[in-house]
Symmetry: C2
Subunit: 465 residues, 2 copies
Amino acid sequence: MTYAPVADVLAGKYGVDDTVTIKGWVRTRRDSKAGLSFINVHDGSCFDPIQVVAMNSLANYEDITKLTTSCSVSVVGTVKASQGQGQALEIEAQSVEVLGWVENPDTYPMAAKRHSIEYLREHAHLRPRTNIIGAVTRIRNCLSQAVHRFFHEQGYFWISTPILTASDTEGAGEMFRVSTLDMMNIPRDDKGLVDYKEDFFGKETFLTVSGQLNVETYCAAMSKVYTFGPTFRAENSNTSRHLAEFWMIEPEVAFADLATVAQLAEDLLKYVFKAVLEERPDDMAFFAQRVNKEAITRLESVVNSEFVRMDYTDAIDILQKSGKKFEFPVEWGVDLSSEHERYLAEEHVGAPIIMQNYPKDIKAFYMRINDDNKTVAAMDVLAPGIGEIIGGSQREERLDVFDRRLAEMDLSQEDYAWYRDLRRYGTVPHAGFGLGFERLVAYVTGMQNVRDVIPFPRTPGNAQY
Amino acid sequence: MTYAPVADVLAGKYGVDDTVTIKGWVRTRRDSKAGLSFINVHDGSCFDPIQVVAMNSLANYEDITKLTTSCSVSVVGTVKASQGQGQALEIEAQSVEVLGWVENPDTYPMAAKRHSIEYLREHAHLRPRTNIIGAVTRIRNCLSQAVHRFFHEQGYFWISTPILTASDTEGAGEMFRVSTLDMMNIPRDDKGLVDYKEDFFGKETFLTVSGQLNVETYCAAMSKVYTFGPTFRAENSNTSRHLAEFWMIEPEVAFADLATVAQLAEDLLKYVFKAVLEERPDDMAFFAQRVNKEAITRLESVVNSEFVRMDYTDAIDILQKSGKKFEFPVEWGVDLSSEHERYLAEEHVGAPIIMQNYPKDIKAFYMRINDDNKTVAAMDVLAPGIGEIIGGSQREERLDVFDRRLAEMDLSQEDYAWYRDLRRYGTVPHAGFGLGFERLVAYVTGMQNVRDVIPFPRTPGNAQY
């Protein structure tokens, strides 16, 4: 038996006086003295519920007047122009079948009232039923679809880099160990150390912190590639911007320099923001009204702006001459902190900035050394209202320079053997960046905490469900 | 500086006599006595390399005659109709710049000759440079894009279910433990057991084996959802069909019964097969020629077939009456083995089968009990040439029946508290299935081993790179 998504009915895909079936959950019910009930029914397909008008002539009208929030119903009815405010169309019910009641509505955790965002987080299995998390879910889906579409249209291949890795080469953060060893009886080798030869993979194994190094191997054959998968940090960070498990998008482009991927980053952000503005005006209107009044205007402003390219060295100069008092002092060589980034993007420029060419000493071993031998071809995209949203770089493709850098940083060539092979065999200039997906969703929706834009957030002490 | 993908040049997107720049890697080089070199250059954008004709009048012609497989080059040249066989267009070089040489071509692991598939697996960082793994990579990308597109077009939302889980409710297979405890100094509680309160999440935590239970929470609010993410099994299975880390697609549909998701499975497979046939004829021609001569015809046959619905009980009858001698005996109540499934799909029916209504004792606790109280509304999709490719079921949405089943199976209500909540609050009939992405890619390409259709396969003893 087919039924119509609420989104289709509200969008006028059925004519007035057509008979339709809809299925969903009660958001609210209001009885009129005139002997009829107004039931708002949502099914997740769009922000708005549809109003169902049920007359007391229906055989099970008494049941209908007992419907509470989240009862599930199947409604057959006629599409009508709505008399009420706030919607153009409604459904005049021919029948309302109750599919599932709510056990004890008085204690139902998601009753139709305002709940704090922290309360919702503690009921992560029920919170998608709320307006706000439903809207986040549709935006998150819209963004992920747009990301895949953007890369596909431009000839990129999606590469699933490994989640489990025994590679010693990452170093982007604290890692989780993955093991099947018996924790009550850890095998030891003859030196008394843990004998990982006995473990599932025969080596100490971790969850990946980034797919970049792996995806470079595919870049060196397929030219244009990207990852979109989960990454992990075992950092004890209880902030609104950190998750132990989060999704990351990492394009990697052959025959590309920093300018190429700076443009790619700008194009990608504009593309996905435009997709959200075009495809989800309903949810964005909600976020603008209830979460951040600039939610829509700031996306529009990014879409219509030219991202400003700025050198780190010039940024230091601007900050020093700003006359502003910063918590963290500014001098050439320091990493920019959030206050600096936001001053530059929000006050000084008033548009997204692509900050480029950072001091090599504060950046990773794989970034390409510039001719000044002091800076590397690294970039961060700083967006007004959030700060850093993308970090990337051109990669060091010159074997001799790379080896010198390894030595400088006291890293062994052996540990990087397969990564060095890419520089030994047909090396090419290449560059890429990383975009944390939850930070992107938080930026778009205006949600303050990344824990509220991923279905089941993992943070220190929390891995329920 | 922009350049043209080889795919675009070969597809005739540039006119004859246009000047183009291409960038890529040498596949082969052949010198002619007439004083010119033919260089086949690939860039991953399509199966075929493009032939570059370099005359000895080029200033660096001597270098050009030293080019070997996988040297990287940037070529500026004129598009010409090709004189040679096998391609319609070629490039007459105005310049050939060598970007990267191959260090010691004699020992280069990916020299242009036939390598065994096992040898390639041991060089997973270089194997994307081969014809076969390049083709697999494009097909894999094509399939993943088609999966997202299919669901998006039908109003499904992508849900990223958690990779890390402290839930005790899975039981679909052996799990990997994820921990940050110091393995040399495991904390113990006062009973002498491992004190997981000290661990990162404050509880014993594992890698997920399936997103299904989690995604049901979103299904109960958004109606149509799907997962597409990595899942894990710590099983010591060294077979051609098992990986410790693999990607899974799991749609979950509200207001749906088994017949609905059986149709969804059929539609999905046909949609993605059609996408591959339309979008990647080049790679599919290669697989048909070199890997499995039925690679194309069997996809076409699935696309054009009607999947046959068959009850498990009828299948047992057919197998018993077949007169075939099976290794594993057939009687009502046993799980079908691969030989049974393949006999039914390949010999008896000659088309994909959707096998339905299995004995409840061989199926999971969450599957919906049929009225006979002996079978559950479960299904497997069996495809000729591979056997089971999809497994799914209608889920038990009736709280009383679910609780009886938990009791029967000696499972505690408390462990399933949040899953039970979905049945306590506005429960709806719903159903879904799981499709292992690597098995899908293996089926489409004809590759024998799932290790060769994922970039970096993880199996017992193997987690390199």
